[in-house]
């Protein structure tokens, strides 16, 4: 059972629908007991960095997430859910993140392209990874204005190029996985990635 962590931002149903489509048992929850009992966690995210951290705080889920991450339970952060796993964010104002990954989240700046980065972009894989097996150069759906910077290059599995920017698309460090794009909205290839994550959560 995968726990989709609910911290009151809505739109968790697209992740739920996607997991249901691949026959992955899942539950939308903010209950620490349910999160503890799960085999893996998905941290979705819509909105701004600071609001997301505040909502996680208000929902009293930060301690249990931290504890389960330390217990080596797989966690997949999606979009803003990935961003808050870094050390710090600068959306609206500076705010500490969960700090599972080295790096910070800053506004993308490039005069040659439109921001937000909305649409399908190719993943450029820089190292092997169980989730992206045979998925090299697949197109995934992005929608964001901020991205990771000052990260540890060893954590990055795939980038996407946008104008002069090299956007961190997918990071994977041990049991911590983060996707800046939306696998639940990236067609069959995205569902295949979620299926691989499901297989990690046993």
């Amino acid at each position: 059972m995968i726990a989709i962590i609910d911290y009151g931002v809505g739109n968790l149903h697209s992740v739920y629908n996607a997991l249901t489509a691949i026959d992955c048992p899942c539950v939308i929850t903010c209950d620490p007991i349910v999160i503890q009992a799960s085999s893996g966690m998905i941290l979705p995210g819509v909105g701004a960095f600071k609001d997301c951290m505040q909502n996680l705080q208000d929902s009293n889920v930060i301690d249990v997430i931290r504890q389960e991450v330390n217990n080596n339970k797989p966690i997949l952060g999606i979009c803003l859910g990935m961003q808050v796993m870094f050390e710090k964010g600068y959306e609206v104002e500076a705010c500490d993140g969960l700090g599972f990954l080295q790096g910070e989240v800053t506004l993308m700046r490039d005069q040659s392209v439109k921001i937000p980065h909305i649409g399908w972009n190719q993943l450029q894989q820089v190292k092997e990874d169980p989730i992206l097996e045979a998925n090299n150069n697949v197109c995934v759906y992005y929608v964001h204005s901020y991205s990771a910077s000052n990260y540890d290059i060893n954590d990055v599995v795939a980038f996407s190029e946008y104008g002069n920017l090299k956007i961190v698309g997918y990071v994977h460090k041990g049991n911590i996985l983060g996707m800046q794009y939306h696998p639940e909205k990236s067609g069959k290839e995205g569902l295949a990635m979620l299926n691989k994550f499901k297989e990690m959560c046993v």
Partner: protein
């Protein structure tokens, strides 16, 4: 690099897909979730569901349609038509829509764009604009009510305003081109897209693959929306994508 998006549009009336020709004479062509799934499987990059129901009951069925579509497809989709306020937006997003498009309500209450983008994020607020060239060709006017009412607003002034208010994308329909199948309004798109900081979706007039090709070769939009060329099976999406790719246009490839 980012690929150009192909977006089939489903016009929905009382829970069923129809396609309007110049907004008149509707013909039923299918069930929304089924048709959306067909397009998803054929490689559509996104889908737009446009509710053209005239009645309250008709509009209420839209929530069910959105929920069904959300379970059937795993690509983003936008819902537009009849969205009046923050509550309507919240209901559509909770039902599973990724974005909503605002048209008449944005004209009536421009601050709705600001409030909605603040609460739900700019990325899910699309402003749909219907525009028509002025008779003296001095520019374009913005229309509402399915193209029946001229607001007197100048297109470029309105575009500037919606960007300031926080719109995440613009869906621009040419009233002159819509339903003609004679191609997109390249001049109008070029005017709007030049220096535009947010993505632009071209709509109205698509009758062939070459029409889509023109939009992307001229680089006047980030996405092309069409209805009839997809609905009637004359131009299946895989064929459209293949031809665009052969012309050197970056499109999403899929299995």
């Amino acid at each position: 690099m980012i690929s150009k998006r192909l977006i089939p549009c489903l016009d929905i009336k009382d829970g069923k897909v129809v396609k309007g020709i110049n907004f008149l004479g509707l013909k039923e062509v299918g069930n929304p979730a089924e048709l959306a799934k067909k397009y998803y499987e054929e490689g559509a990059d996104e889908i737009v569901l446009l509710d053209i129901s005239a009645t309250h009951e008709g509009r209420n069925t839209m929530i069910d349609v959105v929920q069904d579509v959300a379970k059937a497809i795993f690509i983003p989709f936008t819902v537009g038509g009849g969205i009046r306020n923050l509550e309507d937006i919240r209901n559509m997003l909770l039902a599973g829509a990724d974005k909503v498009s605002l048209n008449s309500s944005a004209i009536a209450t421009p601050l709705l764009i600001r409030e909605a983008s603040k609460i739900f994020g700019s990325q899910c607020i699309v402003v749909a604009i219907d525009a028509k060239q002025r008779v003296d060709k001095s520019g374009y006017d913005v229309y509402v009510n399915g193209g029946r009412k001229n607001t007197g607003l100048d297109l470029m002034d309105w575009v500037k305003r919606v960007i300031e208010l926080g719109a995440g994308e613009i869906l621009l329909t040419s009233m002159d081109a819509d339903g003609t199948k004679q191609g997109f309004d390249i001049d109008m798109l070029k005017l709007v897209n030049t220096g535009l900081p947010i993505p632009l979706i071209a709509s109205g007039g698509c009758g062939s693959i070459e029409d889509i090709e023109e939009v992307f070769v001229e680089d006047v939009a980030d996405a092309a929306l069409a209805a009839s060329i997809f609905h009637y099976g004359t131009h299946p999406l895989p064929q459209v994508k293949k031809q665009l790719k052969e012309k050197g246009i970056l499109v999403r490839e899929y299995e």
